[in-house]
């Protein structure tokens, strides 16, 4: 369990506060009481075996999945799944990047990035365009503004997806195995963009299989096992001194 700060002032309240979260698919309980806090500016990596509930947990945070029991609070506001207006406000502040990029194939790269701000935040076209150009430059794809998504490599598409999520100026970015669908040579370019976001103080929650990256960039690593948070700690401590046999086995360190 993480230790919460002793003095509870507004600025030290966790940005994301999850308590006792339970989620079922029919009779199959996928999340069995998850507790997690993420503070502003923290980079949290969630690791674990397939089926441990990591992606499901991430998707609960921005409302793509519903949960049956427990509390989920983002920036002090409890998640109201049945209130479309509240969900819209939540998703303006919580962006997400997917394993399969999910770019809009019928729009150019630039229009992909511009679409949501111009609709949701009613940004005028020229402002949206300028922002899109700036963000694409930030991820190193300034010259690809008019290209179509299917003309780009996987790594480039994922970087466009990052720019698209950043266009909404979110406080928190959720990254769901963002490099798992990429060729190894393309993984580096995406990870360096994510790393630069971390350095600039963005709050990130990453589900990842890239252990080295998690170790390098995270403030806190969460190991999930069978729907619960099994171990939490600073990366050096978690990776070099795993406390539980499950984590040892997951990291491939179990003695034969």
């Amino acid at each position: 369990m993480t230790s919460t700060s002793t003095v509870s002032s507004p600025s030290s309240l966790p940005l994301v506060d999850i308590a006792g979260l339970r989620k079922r698919y029919g009779s199959n309980e996928v999340l069995k009481g998850v507790d997690l806090q993420v503070n502003r500016g923290e980079v949290v990596s969630i690791i674990g075996k397939s089926g441990s509930g990591k992606s499901t947990l991430l998707r609960c945070i921005n409302g793509l999945e519903n949960f049956q029991e427990g509390q989920l609070t983002v920036h002090g506001q409890a998640l109201q799944a049945h209130n479309p207006q509240a969900m819209r406000e939540l998703r303006k502040n919580v962006g997400m990047i997917f394993q399969n990029f999910n770019l809009f194939p019928h729009l150019s790269v630039g229009r992909n990035v511009m679409l949501a701000p111009s609709l949701v935040m009613s940004q005028p076209k020229n402002v949206a365009r300028a922002n899109a150009e700036r963000l694409l430059d930030r991820v190193g794809l300034a010259e690809k503004f008019d290209a179509m998504p299917d003309q780009l490599s996987g790594g480039q598409q994922q970087r466009v997806a990052i720019a698209r999520a950043l266009a909404m100026d979110p406080e928190i970015l959720l990254c769901d195995e963002v490099t798992s669908a990429l060729d190894p040579e393309l993984v580096g370019e995406v990870l360096s963009v994510v790393e630069s976001l971390a350095e600039q103080g963005m709050t990130l929650i990453l589900v990842t299989h890239e252990m080295n990256f998690a170790r390098k960039v995270s403030d806190k690593v969460v190991f999930m096992h069978q729907g619960k948070v099994h171990e939490v700690g600073a990366p050096e401590q978690l990776f070099s001194q795993p406390q539980t046999p499950e984590l040892r086995q997951f990291l491939g360190l179990s003695a034969h």
């Binding site: 998703r91 997400m96 997917f98 999910n102 019928h106 909404m168």
Partner: protein, 216 residues
Amino acid sequence: MVEFTFWDIAYQLLLALRWTVVLSLIAFVCGGLLGLGLLVLRLSKLPGAVKAVAVYVQVFQGTPLLMQIFLTYFGLALMGFDTSPMVAACVCLTLYSAAYLCDIWRGCVDSVAKGQWEASASLAMSFAEQLRHVILPQALRLGIAPTAGFMVQIIKGTALTSVIGFIEITKAGQLIANATFEPFLVYGCVAALYFVLCFPLSLWSQRLERRMRPQR
């Protein structure tokens, strides 16, 4: 015995052809609008909406068009509306087209990857914005071929309205064949006219599909 020239026959058929075209267009446009409304209703997941639309579609897909035309014609009369065959034919074909088009387009929307819904939702887009800017443009691309295919079905379906006395080219063909005692010639011309309406439509839809597909 009166002699009819080929031109006599052709001229009467061409006059009746107008009505086939008008009826087909009304059925497609009105049916398309109604079908789109039903589609949005079905996608909105309002309580009862999915079931209601599914029942509507099943009724029209599960019964022969001929029966639907009879029921509409006599049903409207029973309800007290003074209907001409034209009105009954338009109403029936509109309802029929709406059912099929709604189902075709629902299939196209379902074919759009779930990730598109998730990505646009994560960007805080509302349901209407998701449909209008992300989902429907992609579904449209997938929908051209089956929609054009159904348009051809509508054109051929107008032939059945002859049974309630609506004078389109099939009915006109019957009347002319009875008058001229040349059924093979007359019905041959009728079939040729249907072909002239349907074939360019198929060609155009193929061209439209090709244009919408990205060039590789």
